[in-house]
Symmetry: C2
């Protein structure tokens, strides 16, 4: 059956997260609702690569759906963007191999957590950052963060309600940049526990503001105790930047395409 | 009496403009309401440099108020930012000379109008730009804009409801930049007619998309007829960037301050 891949951006501020919940505005609900109308298939279902929480944003969420008919992706793309509310946009739409699935095929996710550490928070940033009024020690934060690289039991950064099969996850990349007073934490991993990035950000904030030493990160990680780490920072500062797929990302390779 | 100058930033999306209107959310209403409480002066009044329309944003609106008492500006500043909603922020607060008035002392205003001309509009830009799906001819727009420089009768760009004493205004600077698919129109003038920048932006959009030639701008200006110019683009794309004051900007010069 024809399978389609969408890359979706959203300002998560007014949504109860990605995943459909009865009676609540959700990103998946908005997209699935429109696709059912456009494709005239009431049973159409949309899969997402990551279940972003209420208030979390996305630059590169990936969604897949199958249809009984073949659609011209450029038209589908335009129709979706015309009908979606302005806080959701489809960056790209393409037909993919039927074996491709947004979540199951994903090999990694990249998240960004942003902390504005300026006395005054700009109203033009307020929707997408956490605000901390004083400067942060970015070097200490980097030393703390580096201790999380690799495969670990991340129980210390796991939400009480997390339903993952295992608390063991792998962080492949963790970087901290300071862009004009906004501290940007980028974390890449295979997959994440619920609230994991927000709890890591909260722990790094304790280090950055000098409340804890960078070396404490290792103690916290080894404790496997949520009570030992810093607070879960607000969803507002979190953004799903990219979902990574092996090789083609499920792109339908046309015969002879490799010669072009 | 002690007089205070505030530089105010706001995301105008949910406001019925700057100016207080009974029963509607306004920026002036939010700030005046808080200052009355903080200063415990029910009669306190706040003046703004520009009456921005519903939906228009500001990076540098200027407001002044007088109080019967002297306030430590750093504390007043912090108190305001703690209590204001996240779509309004006070960038700075200072005591100024009693003769200083946000509107009457202003010598100029700088506005920015932004048009995103990309096929897909990012949800992270949607609140502060107008969206036009195709590329614009920025060179033609510049040629058209240059014809507006100087003192002219701007009746062709004047809203029906405008109450200015005269349609004659001076544009001192008009610039167009293209920043990664967002066309930015910057206009500096002494003061503006209602909707003037939005009507200029709408006319330049007609030129940029190739519907009109750049040379038509002169004909439109000379016609002094609102019907001849382009449409008034949405307030969403407009931002009051800066209010200009002669010399000190009303800053209270302390005796001996010039020697420091």
């Amino acid at each position: 059956v024809p399978t389609y891949k969408l890359v979706v951006m959203y300002d998560g501020s007014r949504f109860a997260g990605w995943q459909i919940q009865p009676g609540l505005p959700t990103v998946q609900g908005e997209i699935a609702g429109l696709l059912k109308r456009i494709c005239d298939e009431p049973g159409l279902r949309v899969a997402g690569a990551a279940r972003t929480d209420a208030g979390t944003h996305a630059l590169g969420q990936v969604a897949t759906f199958t249809s009984s008919r073949t659609w011209e992706t450029a038209r589908l793309h335009r129709a979706l963007n015309r009908l979606l509310p302005s806080d959701i946009a489809v960056a790209s739409a393409e037909e993919v191999d039927g074996s491709f699935h947004a979540r199951r095929s994903a090999a990694g996710r990249v998240y960004l957590y942003r902390i504005a550490c300026t006395p005054v928070l700009s109203p033009f940033l307020a929707r997408w950052v956490h605000h901390y009024r004083r400067p942060l020690d970015v070097e200490s934060m980097r030393r703390g963060a580096s201790q999380l690289l690799g495969e670990h039991d991340f129980s210390s950064f796991r939400a009480a309600g997390d339903t993952s099969a295992t608390p063991v996850k792998t962080i492949r990349r963790i970087e901290i940049a300071d862009r004009e007073g906004v501290v940007e934490l980028t974390v890449e991993g295979t997959s994440f526990l619920q609230h994991m990035v927000r709890a890591i950000a909260g722990t790094l904030l304790e280090i950055g503001r000098g409340h804890w030493k960078a070396s404490r990160m290792e103690t916290i990680l080894k404790a496997r105790d949520r009570g030992k780490a810093g607070p879960t920072l607000p969803a507002r500062g979190l953004c799903l930047v990219e979902v990574l797929y092996p090789e083609t990302g499920g792109r339908r390779s046309l015969p002879g395409a490799e010669n072009r």
